[in-house]
């Protein structure tokens, strides 16, 4: 869990999630809503600069996190290059497909940067308890928080089961692989239920009677910080729109 680990390490962890949401969410809106050129690269540059600069996310971590979604963006954009069943034949290069693909890829790549910058600086442990203040029903918040804790236990279990299966040649060949993956899925399901039962038992001894109430560290939301976080997206928007207006002027 590369992103999760990076988020706990970042010096920006201490900032209120809403501040980071304002900064990177604002930039995300810039990437999607402003004219793609130069809106997208500008938003991406500011998000990257913030994440790799003051938030000190390791460039290698950032690159590894971005690899998957960027691969999707490139494959998806590639589909825009071709035209199927048109007058030019079954498959042909679409007219102005290159420009469209570049615009979609540019926007999406910038948006992905904003998303990863937020995720790499904001641990979920800080976000989840605040969901109830955002209007999500309490039981759902508690279930979501439990999912977060239990998925790491389950993930670790699945890694170990898989290693044990591999040691006994469980993934040597396609048939064995299907059988092993199925056995792993079944074992995980049984263990998840067992885990829930045991956790129930353990929590009852700590006075659990139905509510999973915990103290959430208060980090006050300062209006000044929120305003400061809003500044970069506003400046990006102003720069792009301003340049557009100047360009349009005779």
């Amino acid at each position: 869990m590369l992103i999760d680990a990076a988020a706990y390490r970042s010096p920006w962890r201490r900032l209120h999630p809403a501040v980071k949401g304002m900064l990177f969410g604002g930039l995300l809106v810039c990437a999607l809503a402003l004219p793609a050129w130069p809106g997208a690269p500008l938003a991406a540059a500011v998000a990257l600069g913030a994440a790799l600069g003051p938030a000190r996310v390791a460039p290698r971590d950032f690159a590894r996190a971005a690899r998957g979604p960027l691969l999707f963006v490139l494959t998806g954009a590639a589909a825009l290059l071709v035209s199927v069943g048109g007058p030019e034949g079954a498959v042909a290069f679409a007219p102005d497909g290159g420009a469209r693909a570049a615009e979609v890829a540019g926007r999406a790549a910038a948006a992905v940067c904003c998303q990863i910058a937020f995720a790499c600086t904001t641990p979920l442990a800080d976000v989840l308890p605040r969901l109830s203040r955002a209007g999500v029903p309490e039981p759902v918040v508690e279930v979501v928080a439990l999912v977060y804790r239990m998925l790491f236990v389950a993930l670790e279990g699945s890694r170990r089961i898989r290693a044990a299966q591999t040691a006994r040649l469980g993934y040597n060949g396609w048939r064995a692989g299907v059988r092993s993956a199925g056995a792993l899925g079944a074992a995980l399901f049984v263990r998840s239920y067992d885990r829930a039962r045991r956790l129930q038992r353990g929590l009852e001894c700590r006075g659990y009677t139905g509510a999973l109430t915990v103290l959430v560290a208060e980090s006050p939301l300062r209006p000044a910080a929120l305003a400061a976080a809003a500044a970069p997206p506003v400046l990006v928007a102003a720069a792009v729109l301003g340049a557009g207006a100047l360009g349009a002027a005779p």
Partner: protein, 213 residues
């Protein structure tokens, strides 16, 4: 297959979020009522959500020799029923977006619609239909067939919806939506159909083992 952040224009992202919202709201209400009626079900739901997440992170063998991930949608729908899957699937997709950068936040609604709404309902419908058609067959065969088709079709239908979402967002300038849909479907079907078959087989093994416990 998760639509990455920013790949949909904002109008489309909003529309798909609105389309998914009633299903998710219904799922959340089902879940809230269940938890209110029996607070202990909270821990089971938490474990189930964790299971769904880890399931979708499993590596399964693929034809090309490299490894891919199952959607887990079919198994989840058979185990937990579609309404609960709408809620658990949303939680899974949210965590995938924030922990793995698989799928985005603005595209969450679109991904929820394909993988936590259409996929589970397709799986559930297929499961019921195949069970009804195979009543004369021995139980293990009938169950195996139903589970196989349910999870393979859930996987295929989720990717079809994704292709549709992409085609609507980026129609082909020459021949519009249909051309774009064909292009996206062609690009993704090469990888997704064999995967759906493998996921179906793996799910059959899972259900067979679980039914012996």
């Amino acid at each position: 297959m998760h639509i990455a952040e920013g790949f949909l224009p904002w109008q489309h992202a909003a529309a798909w979020t609105a389309a998914a919202a009633p299903f998710v709201a219904h799922g959340i209400r089902t879940m809230t009522l269940a938890v209110r009626a029996d607070p202990d079900s909270k821990l089971l739901l938490g474990a189930s959500g964790a299971f769904c997440f880890v399931l979708s992170a499993l590596k399964i063998p693929s034809i090309t020799g490299s490894c891919s991930h199952p959607t887990g949608v079919g198994l989840g729908a058979v185990l937990f029923r579609p309404p609960v899957m709408a809620a658990l699937g949303t939680v899974t997709l949210l965590f995938q977006a924030l922990l793995l950068a698989h799928g985005g936040l603005t595209t969450l609604g679109a991904n929820v619609f394909s993988m936590a709404v259409v996929g589970p309902w397709a799986a559930y419908g297929t499961y019921r239909a195949v069970r009804a058609l195979t009543r004369s067959l021995p139980e293990t065969t009938a169950l195996g067939l139903a589970v196989f088709f349910a999870s393979a079709l859930a996987s295929v239908s989720a990717y079809t919806v994704t292709s549709l979402q992409l085609a609507l967002a980026h129609p082909d300038p020459a021949d519009g939506f249909l051309g774009a849909f064909a292009a996206f479907a062609a690009v993704f079907s090469l990888t997704q159909i064999p995967l759906a078959v493998i996921e179906g087989l793996v799910t059959v093994v899972v259900v067979r083992l679980l039914s012996t416990v």
